[in-house]
């Protein structure tokens, strides 16, 4: 299945050139990619009784594989990702007609799709995490697509920071989970449920994993990023923020439910946060008038319902848990279908009229008949009218809450959250098309027209699928059974029907729809009432996000002012003092009396040439400090370096000696070039600074001497490494120069890192020189 995932990324690479060559056809052609992937996955899924699994070793040393597994849950999500993805690609191709960014949009959408596919197919916790982060990164690019606008950039950064922060928590949670369960394979986790439950890590795992799920799926108190992410172009909102990415948190919760469920903390966190999110977001949606924001808040509410339903589907629960597991699947599928359609309809409405405000959009059914069909079918599906898939989704959710506890928190949350969602469905899907008045068009001239084919064919297709599945739900029996089984952790048999008979759930459903209609009719008085609540938003979690962001930036500024003086001598002073303190402390801590004396005592054979070299170095060093001419100082410094290289020659390290000579030569040249820039030699440092420098220099030099003396006595094991390299240089490395064999063969990766640093330094120098000349040019 690696092939299927990679296909998406490869296709993304070809999207931009294709969009340049065939601008009109790029969307439909690229839509064949997700359809092809879906066909391949369906072939695999239908072809085998047990869930197919493939695995490719990725980092075998760490036990990390690119393992993929296609069970019911993964297949359902793949169906949504690829199916809706194809629709979105066609729509985006038409939506960005004549826009030169079309290729970039299609490419990023494909890359996102492939990442999302990786998330749901992954069967290794690390692979899952990697794809999870890839969805965050690609969604950052998509939300910030209009990067010339500050609003888009801010929204993209906010989404990235919130979901990325959750991603870090998830990483920690996933590592702990693998430790507790003793396996990285997600499919093997459920079998370890007892082990995990007995582990002391269970609670930290639950907290960290849910932090990842809740940030991704925009649960309270992290919900604020999703409405802001509406700064993205409509196709992106429809794809990421209704049908796929925000459902990743729900997916993960559902996926881990068999292994982590059963714990009270897990269950109540899901039910509690889900219920709170559903009610809060539903209430907030009443205050919205912009089409996309209405949909955004209703999406947050629906995600809350889904999270709550996962919490109700306890792995060892009874019939109510089975109902909840089925409800997760049905609600998820129904929501993805109608919400993606409504987003696309909203995009078409705005494109046709230039209006975003739901209050201004009326009477468009004649002008936009096809969009009207899609909007009404999806809107009524969201309302929950029988014969549409949305009805089954809502009915099953109510049934699950009802069976759990007729007056429990889940039931209460549903009764409170559902009527506002009915209002959203009516306002976005139905109201813009009804009414006798002619629609106003933003630019004042002309009338609204139906959108081009590419922009209505997708929404209509999705809406009709919702109708077909609503009329013939038995088509879904296999998918729902197998998906619910994966959520519940035990076999589930689903027998879906259009009508389950007249019972309490139907009554509740009718009451909810009537409640929604009532909210719609008394909207002006409710508007007044909710205005007061809106003031509370000033103290909401988004304020916390803003404070945290500003605080971090302010801290950065203070830190920079304290540490970055801009004076080279101060940096050197800090570096030396720090090194002296750290190394000195270590030496004092490992104090061995007499060690230095013993080391000194071992120096018995002092050769004449050694003495000569030392004298040369000392004289040259003193000359550096006392010189009144820079050239003389540099040459004296070069003499010190050459003397050092002579030491290397004497003690038979020719490679080092050669390097040292060359480095000294080049350094002198560099100094000479640099000094031509400087003003004439002036003695600026006061006596005090010179004394200070002297102290630091003596301390540093003394410390190094002590260190070298002590180092000669340190036993590093049996010197296995050097013996190995000396012995293996010729047989394995084919070279007699051991130093070089180590550099380019045994430790070549280190060398590669070092030359990369060199290359970066070169780029840095260029930036400095160009930057300076650029500044001068501007002056």
């Amino acid at each position: 299945m690696l092939g299927e995932v990679l296909t998406g990324f490869v296709a993304a690479a070809f999207a931009a050139p294709l969009a340049r060559r065939l601008p009109r056809l790029a969307g439909p052609i690229l839509a064949l990619v997700p359809l092809g992937i879906l066909a391949a996955l369906t072939w695999r899924y239908a072809g085998s009784a047990a869930p197919p699994r493939t695995s490719v070793a990725w980092l075998p040393g760490l036990g990390i594989d690119l393992a993929f597994r296609l069970d019911g849950l993964a297949y359902l999500f793949a169906l949504l990702i690829c199916g809706i993805g194809a629709v979105i690609l066609v729509y985006a191709g038409a939506y960005f007609a004549g826009d030169r960014r079309r290729g970039r949009m299609l490419a990023t959408l494909l890359a996102f799709m492939a990442s999302m596919l990786g998330v749901v197919l992954a069967d290794h916790l690390v692979a899952l995490f990697v794809f999870w982060e890839l969805t965050s990164v690609t969604s950052y690019l998509l939300i910030g697509f209009d990067h010339e606008q500050e609003k888009s950039r801010k929204a993209a950064l906010q989404a990235l920071l919130v979901t990325g922060g959750g991603g870090l928590a998830l990483l920690a949670g996933v590592v702990l989970l693998a430790q507790a369960a003793g396996t990285w394979d997600i499919s093997a986790l459920a079998g370890q449920a007892q082990t995990i439950r007995a582990s002391p890590l269970q609670l930290p795992i639950i907290v960290l994993v849910l932090a990842g799920c809740f940030t991704k799926s925009a649960q309270v108190p992290f919900h604020f990023w999703l409405p802001n992410a509406m700064a993205a172009p409509t196709p992106v909102s429809a794809y990421l923020h209704s049908a796929t990415m925000v459902k990743a948190g729900v997916y993960l919760a559902a996926r881990l439910n068999p292994s982590l469920g059963g714990a009270a903390a897990w269950e109540w966190a899901l039910i509690g946060f889900g219920a709170l999110t559903a009610v809060t977001a539903a209430a907030m949606s009443l205050r919205q008038h912009e089409l996309k924001r209405l949909l955004a808040y209703s999406t947050v509410a629906s995600l809350g319902v889904l999270i709550m339903l996962v919490g109700l589907a306890a792995p060892e629960g009874g019939a109510d848990a089975v109902t909840a597991a089925k409800a997760v699947v049905l609600f998820l599928l129904a929501h993805a279908l109608y919400k993606a359609t409504l987003f696309l309809v909203a995009g078409s409405l705005t494109r046709a009229t230039g209006l975003k405000d739901a209050r201004l959009l009326v009477g468009l059914r004649r002008a936009m008949p096809l969009t009207f069909v899609a909007g009404v079918l999806a809107g009524l599906s969201m309302v929950g009218v029988p014969a549409l898939l949305g009805y089954l989704g809502k009915e099953s959710a109510i049934a699950a809450a009802w069976e759990r506890h007729a007056a429990g928190p889940a039931m209460l949350a549903l009764v409170l959250a559902a009527p506002p969602l009915v209002v959203v469905g009516l306002r976005v899907g139905v109201a813009p098309f009804l009414g006798s008045r002619r629609a106003v068009v933003a630019d004042g001239a002309g009338t609204a027209h139906e959108v081009p084919t590419g922009m209505w064919v997708g929404p209509v297709a999705l809406a009709v699928i919702g109708l077909v599945l609503g009329l013939a739900p038995m088509l879904l029996n296999r998918v729902v059974s197998e998906t619910a089984a994966a959520v519940h952790g035990a076999p589930v048999a689903a027998r879906l029907a259009l009508w389950h008979g007249f019972n309490a759930v139907v009554l509740l459903d009718v009451a909810i729809v009537l409640g929604g209609v009532a909210l719609w009719l008394w909207r002006s008085s409710i508007d007044r009432w909710t205005r007061r609540l809106a003031r509370l938003a000033a103290f909401g979690p988004e304020r916390g996000y803003a404070l945290a962001l500003e605080g971090t930036l302010a801290f950065g500024r203070v830190q920079t002012r304290l540490l970055q003086s801009g004076y080279l001598r101060r940096y050197l002073l800090v570096v030396f003092l720090f090194a002296i303190a750290v190394v000195g402390a270590a030496l004092v801590a490992a104090h061995r009396p007499g060690a230095i004396g013993a080391a000194l005592g071992e120096i018995v054979h002092v050769h004449a040439e050694d003495v000569l070299l030392v004298v040369m170095m000392v004289v040259a060093a003193v000359a550096v400090v006392h010189s009144r001419s820079r050239v003389a100082a540099v040459i004296a410094l070069g003499a010190v370096g050459l003397a050092v290289s002579l030491v290397f020659v004497l003690y038979s390290a020719p490679d080092l000696a050669l390097t040292q000579v060359l480095i000294e030569t080049l350094t002198v040249i560099l100094f000479v070039l640099a000094m031509r820039q400087l003003p004439f030699f002036v003695d600026l440092s006061s006596r005090r600074t010179r004394v200070r420098d002297l102290v630091v220099a003596v301390l540093g030099g003394g410390l190094m001497t002590t260190l070298v003396l002590l180092a000669s006595h340190v036993q590093l094991g049996d010197e296995v490494a050097s013996a190995y390299f000396a012995a293996e240089a010729v047989p394995q490395g084919h070279g007699r120069n051991v130093v070089n064999v180590i550099l380019v063969d045994f430790r070549a990766l280190d060398t590669l890192g070092e030359i990369t640093v060199l290359a970066l330094a070169a780029i840095g120098v260029i930036a400095l020189v160009r930057g300076r000349t650029g500044l001068e040019a501007r002056r």
């Binding site: 060359l662 080049l666 560099l670 820039q677 084919h734 063969d745 060398t751 030359i755």
Partner: protein
Amino acid sequence: MSSIILRTGVRFVTPLMLLLAALLVLRGHNEPGGGFIGGLLAAAGLILQTLASGSGASRRLIRVAPLTLVSGGLLLAAFSGFLAMIGCGAFMTAIWVESLGLGTPLLFDLGVFMVVVGTTLTVIEGMAEGNA
């Protein structure tokens, strides 16, 4: 710093230094030398040109921008590591043609050589240009 003696001398010294640098790289696997040392020596030779005839002289000699040399060297070094992966070996596994005494480590060393020459030239020429 433009003396006729220096310019005339450099005309002989630079080729010699470049030749020696090539020798150091080639023999580096068995005798003292290698890409790093060779690179430093070659850079020193080219910088002599710069000192004698002003900035841009070494650029005219090697005909590519130093930064191109850096990126090319980095790519070459990485490429030498990837070669082994074609044969399903781990990244950076050395491949040797025993009869010729040639192998991917030599390619790697050549990459190191190019990066060192390029970086040194970038730094020194940057300073020299700043002077002009």
